[in-house]
């Protein structure tokens, strides 16, 4: 299948790629660029494990074609921590035990970041609503919500 030139920025690095039009953004990130922190849980946009931020909005990257990401700025879980410091959401997931198997965790953390960046004063109900697109099968969500609430507070105070 004919490949198309695509230029996209992922976590501050720019990639000039040739990709088949049938490849998703998820496949582009994982297989072409080699950033495997973003996970594939359902391939149908229903579980949120593949959530990335595209131009400031949370997107399930299995539902976006790689060619559609041409010219976009993308943040994945690998782009959240700086060299010596975790993002407050990552730190909170660690401290509160907001993960178990960890497979859904990048999606939850990235979706939480996109939401809290826009809604720093979100209530628990709003957070629960906003994260309703992400499935976690291990935690029962109690500690995920605790982690996001606590991260929101840290982010407000910093």
């Amino acid at each position: 299948m004919k490949k198309h030139p695509v230029s996209l920025t992922v976590n501050t690095d720019t990639y000039d790629l040739l990709i088949e039009p049938r490849k998703t953004l998820l496949a582009t990130l994982r297989d072409t660029i080699g950033l495997t922190g973003t996970k594939e849980g359902c391939s149908t946009g229903d579980c949120g494990a593949c959530t990335v931020i595209v131009d400031g909005k949370a997107v399930t990257s299995c539902m976006m074609l790689g060619v559609s990401a041409d010219g976009k700025e993308i943040t994945t879980v690998e782009g959240l921590a700086s060299r010596d410091q975790l993002h407050p959401i990552q730190q909170a997931f660690m401290d509160k035990g907001g993960y178990q198997c960890g497979f859904c965790t990048p999606g939850f953390i990235v979706a939480s970041k996109a939401f809290l960046d826009e809604n720093p004063n979100a209530t628990e109900a709003e957070i629960r609503h906003a994260l309703g697109n992400n499935i976690c099968r291990c935690t029962g969500y109690t500690k995920i919500i605790e982690a996001v609430m606590s991260a929101a507070e840290v982010m407000r105070n910093s």
């Binding site: 922190g37 996970k39 391939s43 035990g97 178990q100 099968r137 935690t139 029962g140 969500y141 919500i145």
Partner: protein, 765 residues
């Protein structure tokens, strides 16, 4: 438990950093140079004869490197369907190509000719004489007939003399037996205690019901995946997300006839398992076959849709249950008959049917269970396999009895619970378990005696029991020259177990938790470890870790005694050093110095060994109370409160233990209210998250986890398995809460809104 420095503390897990940064490497993250991608060709029918498989067009597609079918399986063990497909989505062939999309295109080009056969999906239809039969060798007899047939087979095999008269006699007996005969039977179990007829005769109240529990999927978030690399010398390496690397190794060896020592299984980080990630059939064996045929590494990753059609979910079942009690609330007798939906192969968790006895005395008990073949994929374990189903029936019926006798449902259960020394009906003796303590703890947590409820609100209570497993495990602990310790083992971390092992070793060696690191080896480099299922890891590997750490301590003391010119008895481990017990004169030596010193001793480096086979397992109880509110218009069940208590023996890491309780409870809630694999005559009809709903953050409030600690006699520091019990009561907890709220007993799960509305308006079955 404040006497411990590290145990009982809410430490951050050893894998925290890699999990929150995306660095953890799961099966699908393995990418090898030259790697091919495999896809399956799957059956388009739930039951059909295969007349022809034509792979020629697929093989011509550029990029396709190999197609494998059952013809490639020399051992003859069933990896792919050959003569007959038994369920929609059963694999018939697999293709390897240079790109996953090319592999998928190629799979579509493989032509299968079928002769479609009638299929059976419902377990109660499958046992009927006119039901389609899946296997020619299934058992159609009840136990009495089965026994005679066994005798007949013996006589017929014995050619040394003429048995025709005896054979005729047995055949006559067979004809004469009037007993229930069930068809499509894959397995059966029968247990009894006391005299069931007498038990019912002595009862004042006898209640009979039938409960229907659906098949549900474990729905681990990471679909099955394997990467196999068969090299030119015959060695095979398999990267796999699996709960049992050593079981995978022997499974691949047995299925493909490869010597065990030629196979290395590298267990990657696992994206959930819940019991569903033990088998070799789904991706591991096909990936090895394709790699052997192509000489290239091959990755096979199932899609979520494939997980639903060809995963190995938890069996549904139909349970007929009868319970007899005295008017004062003394339980006397219970009789259960269960039909478990095994799918196309045997293996449903029918053995758990005995847990219909719960943790009650039941002087009279009779339990019969059958596994039944249907045209569905086979089943596997799912968190306390079989027990949520059974506890749903048992605890729903007890709730009805309490209501009929006007007894408080908590008091009624407490009255009938076993205590230490009571015989376990048709079961092994048990040590002290905190049955009553656990139920009381959850009742206290919600202030049960003073509970209040508004209109359409109700409270439900239920319990569920489980016994943690125990298996063999080996482990080494070594001390580095910087004084830190490292654990080497081969057991899969199942959401926090590595952390518990590090805590145990740190405690015994008096090291800070951060000074203990952990290396999980592949099957070539780690000692054998039992699979991570059955709430086995903390119990088994925890005991192993204790032994390994104690052995390490022994060597540290021995080396320190040499260095300090004293004897071992006058020394102790303290704050990561070996010190004299008597302060005068105070002498101590660090682990690092001892590790460096050990390198030049005749005894050699410090390597502690732990090797462990089996100790008596310990039962555990989970108890839950939910408060719900029903919307009578929509039938929606809103959970207002959910408290979940559990006797965990000793919580090595309370944060991880709470996480298990919370997660298991929510899985049970989902089984009760939303999850159900649905089938029609064409097979599974809801293979995705849109139609197969699992809960999200929007569905229910915080779960209140209540930890009860009644020391397990053989557990490490009194700990017992934690993972499985919390799912066991929830199906009944929710049904009992609904019954309390609106006076309607729902006996068929899940309690989806439409079912609740139908029941409220008398439209139900």
């Amino acid at each position: 438990m404040s006497e411990y420095a590290v145990l009982g503390k809410r430490v951050t897990r050893v894998d925290a950093l890699e999990k929150v940064t995306g660095a953890a490497q799961y099966g699908g993250d393995v990418h090898l140079p030259g790697m091919l991608h495999g896809k399956f060709v799957r059956s388009a029918h739930p039951h059909a004869r295969i007349l022809d498989i034509d792979t020629s067009e697929a093989e011509k597609l550029p990029g396709v490197r190999a197609v494998v079918t059952q013809d490639d399986v020399e051992s003859g063990r069933r990896v792919f369907a050959t003569d007959k497909v038994l369920y929609l989505g059963e694999p018939i062939a697999a293709v390897a190509a240079t790109d996953p999309d090319i592999a998928e295109e190629a799979a579509d080009l493989i032509k299968i000719d079928y002769e479609v056969l009638p299929a059976v999906q419902d377990v109660m239809e499958a046992i009927q004489p006119d039901a389609p039969r899946l296997h020619s060798d299934d058992t159609k007899d009840g136990p009495a007939r089965r026994a005679i047939r066994a005798d007949l087979r013996k006589l017929e095999r014995d050619k040394s003399q003429d048995h025709s008269a005896e054979i005729a006699e047995l055949n006559a007996q067979l004809e004469a037996i009037e007993e229930d005969v069930y068809y499509n039977i894959s397995a059966e179990t029968h247990s009894a205690a006391g005299d069931i007829e007498q038990g019912f005769a002595e009862s004042d109240l006898v209640v009979e019901d039938t409960y229907v529990i659906p098949r549900v999927h474990q729905t681990y978030m990471e679909p099955h995946v394997s990467v196999a690399d068969a090299d030119s010398t015959g060695k095979v390496t398999v990267w796999a997300s699996t709960q049992g690397p050593f079981a995978i190794r022997s499974g691949i060896a047995g299925t493909l006839g490869i010597p065990l020592n030629q196979i290395n299984v590298v267990a990657t980080t696992m994206g959930g398992g819940f019991g569903g990630r033990f088998g070799v059939a789904l991706t591991h064996v096909p990936a090895v076959l394709l790699s052997q045929k192509t000489g290239r590494p091959v990755k096979i990753q199932m899609t979520r849709e494939e997980e639903f059609t060809d995963g190995r979910p938890a069996p549904g079942c139909v349970i007929k249950l009868k319970t007899g009690v005295k008017n004062d609330g003394t339980i006397l007798a219970r009789e259960g008959l269960a039909f478990w939906d095994s799918g196309s192969v045997s293996g449903a968790s029918i053995g758990s049917t005995i847990r219909l006895r719960g943790v009650y005395k039941f002087p009279h008990l009779k339990v019969d269970a059958y596994g039944v073949y249907t045209n569905k994929s086979g089943t596997a374990a799912y968190r306390a396999p079989g027990t949520p189903q059974v506890a749903f029936a048992g605890e729903s019926q007890l709730d009805d009895i309490a209501r009929k006798l006007n007894l408080d449902p908590v008091e009624f259960r407490l009255k009938n619970m076993r205590v230490e020394g009571d015989p376990v009906p048709a079961g092994p003796n048990e040590p002290k378990v905190g049955y009553k303590e656990t139920l009381q703890a959850v009742a206290d947590a919600v202030d049960w005696k003073n509970r209040t409820q508004g209109p359409n609100q109700g409270w439900g209570v239920a319990i569920g029991d489980w016994t943690n497993g125990c298996g063999p495990g080996g482990m080494f602990v070594s001390i580095h020259e910087d004084g830190s310790a490292r654990i080497f083992h081969g057991s899969m971390d199942i959401t926090g177990t590595d952390t518990a092992l590090a805590q145990i070793v740190a405690e015994i060696l008096t090291l800070p938790y951060e000074e203990v690191t952990i290396s999980r080896g592949d099957t070539n480099s780690a000692p054998y470890a039992t699979g991570s299922g059955g709430s086995v890891v903390t119990f088994t590997m925890g005991n192993t870790a204790k032994l390994a750490a104690e052995d390490t301590r022994r060597r540290l003391l021995e080396l320190a005694a040499e260095r300090l010119n004293t004897d071992v008895e006058s020394l102790e481990l303290k704050d990561g050093k070996v010190s004299t017990i008597e302060a005068d004169p105070p002498k101590s030596i660090g682990f690092g110095e001892l590790a460096a010193y050990s390198l030049s001793t005749t005894g050699g480096p410090i390597v502690g060994k732990g090797s462990f086979a089996r100790k008596p397992s310990t039962p555990a109880l989970a108890a839950q109370i939910a408060k719900v509110e029903i919307d009578p218009e929509t039938g929606r069940i809103k959970v207002l409160k959910m408290a979940s208590s559990q006797d965990v023996g000793f919580a090595i890491n309370p944060m991880a233990v709470e996480g298990q309780i919370e997660g298991g409870t929510v899985q049970g809630y989902a089984w009760a209210t939303m999850e159900e694999m649905q089938y029609n005559e064409q097979g599974n009809v809801n293979p995705g998250f849109v139609d197969y709903r699992v809960p999200t953050t929007a569905d229910l409030p915080t779960v209140e986890a209540v930890i009860v600690e009644v020391e397990a006699p053989d557990g490490p520091f009194g700990a017992k398995g934690v993972g499985e019990p919390p799912i066991t009561p929830t199906l009944a907890t929710m049904a009992n809460a609904v019954a309390d709220a609106v006076g309607i007993r729902i006996t068929e799960l899940p309690m989806k809104p439409e079912k609740v509305v139908d029941a409220l308006h008398g439209n139900g079955k």
